[in-house]
Amino acid sequence: MGKKNKIYLLAYALIIFLVPAIWKNNYHLMVLNIAALNIVVVIGLNLLMGFAGQISLGHAAFFGLGAYLSAIFTATFGFPLWPTIILAMVITGMVAYAIGIPTLKLEGHYLVMATLGFNVIIYILMIQLDGVTGGPSGFPGIPRLQVGGFVFDSDRKIYYLLWTISVGTLLLSLNLIHSRVGRAMAALSHNEIAARCAGIDTESYKVKVFVISAVLASLAGSCYAHYITFVSPGTFSFFYSIQVVTMVLIGGIGSLWGSVLGAILLTILPEILHAVKEYNVLIYGIILMVVLIFFPQGLFPVVAGIFRKRKEEARSGMELVPRKGP
């Protein structure tokens, strides 16, 4: 990762961690906490969409798997908290692997169909397996997050934890795309034939990126469950999958900073639109349409373009190396 990116990341982290000192409203902090988790899901999805050229419409299911596995293992079976979160990530990763192996070997967008179907199946299971999941009425009493006896029992306390995870995810993902593996991913998403002939195992990379993407969604799901302490199937419906795909597109496909922007904007926007009650869905829809019609590359390249004059950089949004000249 370039020096510039490190400075941006540091500035971003500083701003993020100063927010609770200024903002005293707990409800606002809760919205931002959800934004932090959405960022984790959206970054993972953007790695898949922007760097493996594939779309998943089942990220709500991976998010849900993380949440329910965490809930069931800790509340029902009394497993320790953090190992459970890791365990949920491993299981979700294996599930993603099982979906990815057959579908990603085929050329074309079979993953969309497979993940869409998977989302529906998981949703039905959450409702039908009511002995384990609590069914449509949900699963209450999930233990709160804690580290060594310190319980994160308020929106303010947990803010720091969730945003540490969120910023950490961004840091590691930026690291990844600025590495040999990230270059290979960018290559295969742009020109698969050329990438294969340049010696890149495109199938294996696509599967790996998909697994990473699902694991990140699982991590966010587990944190969500232990934060809200209650999960119900409605949160993990297909609608949330669409929402995170929209966040990727609004922020800018292939731009991780864009994902941060997209996730924050689209988490906050519905809250702001509560003010115009009966019109909020209408206005939300219009805003999405306007952005996607006028900024099909997403908002981040536009924002970045205001600060940087070189159009090329804004268009690629990838900042793989600092670009001097021409």
Binding site: M1, L172, N175, L176, S179, R180, V181, G182, R183, A184, A186, A187, H190, N191, I193, A194, A195, R196, C197, A198, G199, I200, D201, T202, K208, I212, E312, S316, M318, L320, V321, R323, K324, G325, P326
Partner: protein, 260 residues
């Protein structure tokens, strides 16, 4: 040039009766030939003779319906393109296939993929070993670009350099994979006379470093000028092979080209 670990007089690439069918069309018909190392071998033939299909079969983009391809005595037919590249065959494309979302330098850095190791965990955490390798990749890529005369444009977006430069860059990217066998698919198509000459010089320079090259090309002036050996295809079958001056006089070759 590093030692290629391969002796003269041996065959670097051999095809045995390879046949490639697309529906009813036989794009390659029981094609057999041998390629000696450190030479420029040109594959010529009229349009539709199966030249590009042959390159696709060698690089694993297509899998031949029957027959065998041996690279350094080992069968490679059936392997995937990335495995064949890892074994030391690299190529360029008739229509330039660059990563146009990347800079010139990054394209070459991607080309070094099969000769470098850093994995996912290295990428996530940028361990010291990863940073060292990354530095090496960048330096080697710059050296390579320099030898191709592209260093001044290293930070240009690859889509924004001239066609001639894109063609050179594609070869540079292929050479970044340190191939033992380089396949060039019409490297001078679309270039003017001056650029064609420069490309000819570049290919000769590559050969002088010990590189084995298979050249698919329509420009007869170039082919006859730089080739050590010429293989003529027609309707997917070999109708002749020999030294360039012999092939120019060969009656079957004349017939295929001129229809007389």
């Amino acid at each position: 040039m590093p030692e290629k670990g391969f002796q003269q007089n041996q065959t670097i690439l051999e095809t045995r009766e390879i046949t490639m069918r697309f529906g009813g069309l036989e794009a390659l018909n029981a094609l057999s030939f041998c390629i000696a190392p450190h030479q420029i071998v040109s594959v010529i033939g009229p349009n539709g003779a199966g030249k590009t299909t042959l390159l696709n079969a060698i690089t694993g983009v297509y899998s031949p319906n029957s027959g065998e391809i041996l690279f350094r005595g080992m069968p490679i037919s059936g392997l995937k393109p990335f495995q064949i590249t890892a074994r030391g065959i690299n190529r360029t494309f008739q229509q330039v296939q660059l990563f146009s979302n990347m800079t010139v330098l990054e394209n070459v850095m991607v080309g070094m993929h099969p000769r470098t190791k850093s994995g996912f965990w290295d990428g996530l955490f940028h361990f010291a070993s990863e940073r060292r390798e990354e530095k090496k990749i960048r330096e080697k890529a710059e050296t390579l670009l320099d030898s191709f005369g592209l260093l001044p444009k290293a930070y240009w977006m690859s889509a924004h350099v001239s066609i001639a430069d894109q063609k050179r860059l594609e070869i540079a990217r292929a050479m970044a994979g340190e191939p033992e066998l380089l396949l060039l698919d019409e490297p001078v198509a679309g270039l003017n006379i001056r650029e064609t000459e420069a490309m000819g010089d570049l290919i000769i320079k590559l050969k002088q470093t010990g590189q084995t090259i298979i050249l698919v090309e329509h420009n007869m002036h170039l082919v006859m000028g730089i080739s050590d050996w010429v293989i003529v295809l027609h309707h997917g079958a070999k109708i002749g092979e020999g030294r360039p001056e012999e092939m120019q006089k060969d009656s079957r070759v004349m017939e295929a080209y001129l229809g007389t």
